[in-house]
């Protein structure tokens, strides 16, 4: 509960900061302090030192995983603000409002990590989404940003409709909005174990589709490239990592409770979605010329991997999604932070970065290696756990092989950036880079490597 309350209050605090000061660094500093407070509050909650207890009437349920995950999300946001806060400052004069929106998003994620029913899920997703529509369009005079915002909004609200229809049907079938409405008795007609629950299945599928949209799984991923591309880079970074991870957590939480009751058809459906996601993300990313857009596709591809946790629905999967979140957030936030410093977002814009900005190039390389899942980086263990969980769950080997082949394809586009930085000549234009920024980047890289060598530091924490 701490996180929800604090993020809401701190959001309001951020709004007011804008009234009291126009100095953007101050605002950013306030935001950082606020995030630290939020993180502390959440950590305290998870260790049970100072936790506000409110009777949520079983609408929210706080457990260790959720709280831990929330800490990860807040931590990632902290890193995000530390690295890219200066970029937020560059966007118009509403810095304080942006931070406020970010805190509201965090409130949404806090709800999504602890929801215990359709109502809170719905509210959480909306609280998460509405600020994002705004953040996407925050570069008001940029037509791309406008377009992205409108697209995101229209498709997002359409999906809300779909999701609500799904919830309604589930409610109709089960008479409850609780987590139990998913799964129980929702066996496919062929199973013959229980009488067909057509309404429930229908609701489930619609809900599934809506959640797929939120985590940009194919074939509901179409918004992702356009929105990520159009949104101001700094918020793309935020959306692609923190928001998406929260979405995934909610998705998995929703379906993991009773997923084993769903039967083989569920697995087939899911494996189709996974393969389609991997295909759409990886293959399309290959041809992109803009790195930012490539990253958008790559985030779809990463989602494909994360969906494995949904498929496997076991301990390894849960651990994996945590690790994946850490790895993916670190690498993507780090890389976006670098991307924003480079003027030209095309691959050619990175030519020769290694000679002009060796630190940036090095950290970018670590991030990309992690995204590609090369050992010694966090990304390896993330992918490792995902694959392991599926193999353990007895998932079809062909799917794993397909995933692995797509991982190799992903190496293609990630390495194209490395190639540009290290192997090609050029004079990339970069904006001013401070020592502190470099230091932060190096810390990110160190974090990636550390998790890559000792993933247990994350997992042990998870297990206390």
């Amino acid at each position: 509960m701490n996180a929800i309350i604090f993020s809401a209050i701190l959001g309001v605090v951020m709004m007011f900061t804008g009234i009291f000061t126009n100095k953007k660094p101050v605002i950013t500093l306030t935001a950082i302090i606020a995030l630290v407070v939020l993180l502390t509050a959440n950590l305290m909650n998870s260790y049970g030192i100072f936790s506000i207890q409110i009777d949520t009437k079983e609408l929210l349920h706080f457990n260790k995983i959720g709280l831990f995950f929330n800490s990860l999300i807040i931590g990632a946001t902290l890193i995000f603000v530390l690295l890219s806060g200066s970029e937020i400052e560059k966007l118009g004069n509403k810095t304080a409002d942006y931070y406020a929106l970010i805190f509201f998003v965090l409130c949404g994620t806090a709800i999504l990590t602890s929801y215990n029913g359709m109502l809170m899920l719905f509210l959480g997703i909306e609280i998460l989404s509405i600020p994002l529509y705004i953040l996407t369009g925050s570069d008001k005079h940029n037509l791309k940003s406008n377009e992205a915002s409108l697209k995101y909004f229209l498709m997002g609200s359409f999906t809300t409709g779909i999701m609500l229809m799904g919830i309604a049907l589930l409610y109709g079938a089960t008479g409850t909005f609780g987590m139990a409405s998913v799964g129980t008795g929702a066996l496919p007609p062929s199973s013959g174990v229980q009488g067909p629950a057509f309404l429930q299945v229908a609701g489930l599928l619609l809900l599934f589709a809506a959640m797929c949209f939120k985590v940009s799984a194919a074939p509901f991923h179409f918004w992702t490239p356009d929105v990520y591309d159009g949104a101001p880079s700094v918020f793309t970074s935020f959306m692609a990592t923190i928001v998406k991870a929260a979405g995934f957590f909610a998705f998995i939480k929703l379906f993991s409770a009773n997923a084993n009751l769903l039967g083989p058809t569920w697995n087939i459906l899911l494996s189709f979605v996974i393969v389609a996601t991997l295909l759409a993300g990886n293959i399309t990313a290959v041809f992109q010329r803009s790195i930012k857009r490539m990253l958008a596709y790559s985030s779809i591809a990463q989602a494909g991997f994360m969906l494995f946790a949904l498929y496997s629905n076991n301990d390894l999967g849960t651990e994996g999604i945590l690790l994946y979140t850490v790895a993916y957030c670190l690498a993507t936030i780090g890389f976006f932070a670098i991307l924003m410093k480079v003027k030209d977002y095309t691959f050619d814009g990175f030519n020769g970065l290694a000679s002009t900005q060796p630190v940036l190039a090095f950290v970018a390389t670590i991030c990309l290696l992690s995204l590609a899942g090369i050992p010694l980086t966090a990304g390896f263990f993330a992918k490792y756990y995902m694959l392991a969980s599926v193999v353990k769950a007895g998932g079809p080997l062909w799917m794993v092989i397909v995933a692995v082949l797509f991982a190799a394809v992903s190496a293609y586009y990630y390495f194209k950036v490395i190639q540009a930085m290290y192997f090609k000549e050029g004079q990339p234009e970069t904006s001013e880079i401070t020592g502190g920024f470099k230091f932060g980047l190096v810390l990110v890289a160190a974090g990636i490597l550390l998790v890559g060598v000792l993933p247990s530091i994350v997992l042990n924490w998870f297990y206390f």
Partner: protein, 111 residues
């Protein structure tokens, strides 16, 4: 009323909403169609709530089963209101920049 009637009716409205979203190009109308979809859902929820309430009443006359369905509708309306305010703001912003609300013009971002 048999619940199927409500379901059919809601689905029909919902589908009309979908068709509207898919066919119209005016962003405002598209958005209105989304609202139509939401209303279909609302009606369905109320119908279900009354269905469950009706069933529960047979066993327990003091049952309040189904109240959550109607409250859910309430929250949907809340959210819809919030969405509308943001959505219209976005559309207006778009219109200011392009002097158009045609979503087919939204294709700077593609491929």
């Amino acid at each position: 009323m048999p619940i199927q009637y409500y379901i059919y009716f809601s689905l029909a409205l919902f589908s009309i909403g979908i068709i509207g979203v898919l066919t119209r190009r005016n962003a405002i109308i598209v958005f209105m169609c989304v609202e139509l979809m939401l209303n279909a859902v609302n009606l369905l929820l109320v119908a279900f709530s009354k269905m469950h309430h009706g069933n529960a009443l047979l066993n327990n006359p003091t049952s309040t089963a189904g109240v959550e369905g109607q409250l859910f509708v309430f929250f949907i309306m809340v959210v819809a209101a919030a969405e509308v305010s943001v959505g219209l703001a976005i559309i207006v912003m778009m219109y200011r920049n392009t002097h158009s609300v045609d979503i087919n013009f939204l294709n700077r971002l593609k491929n």
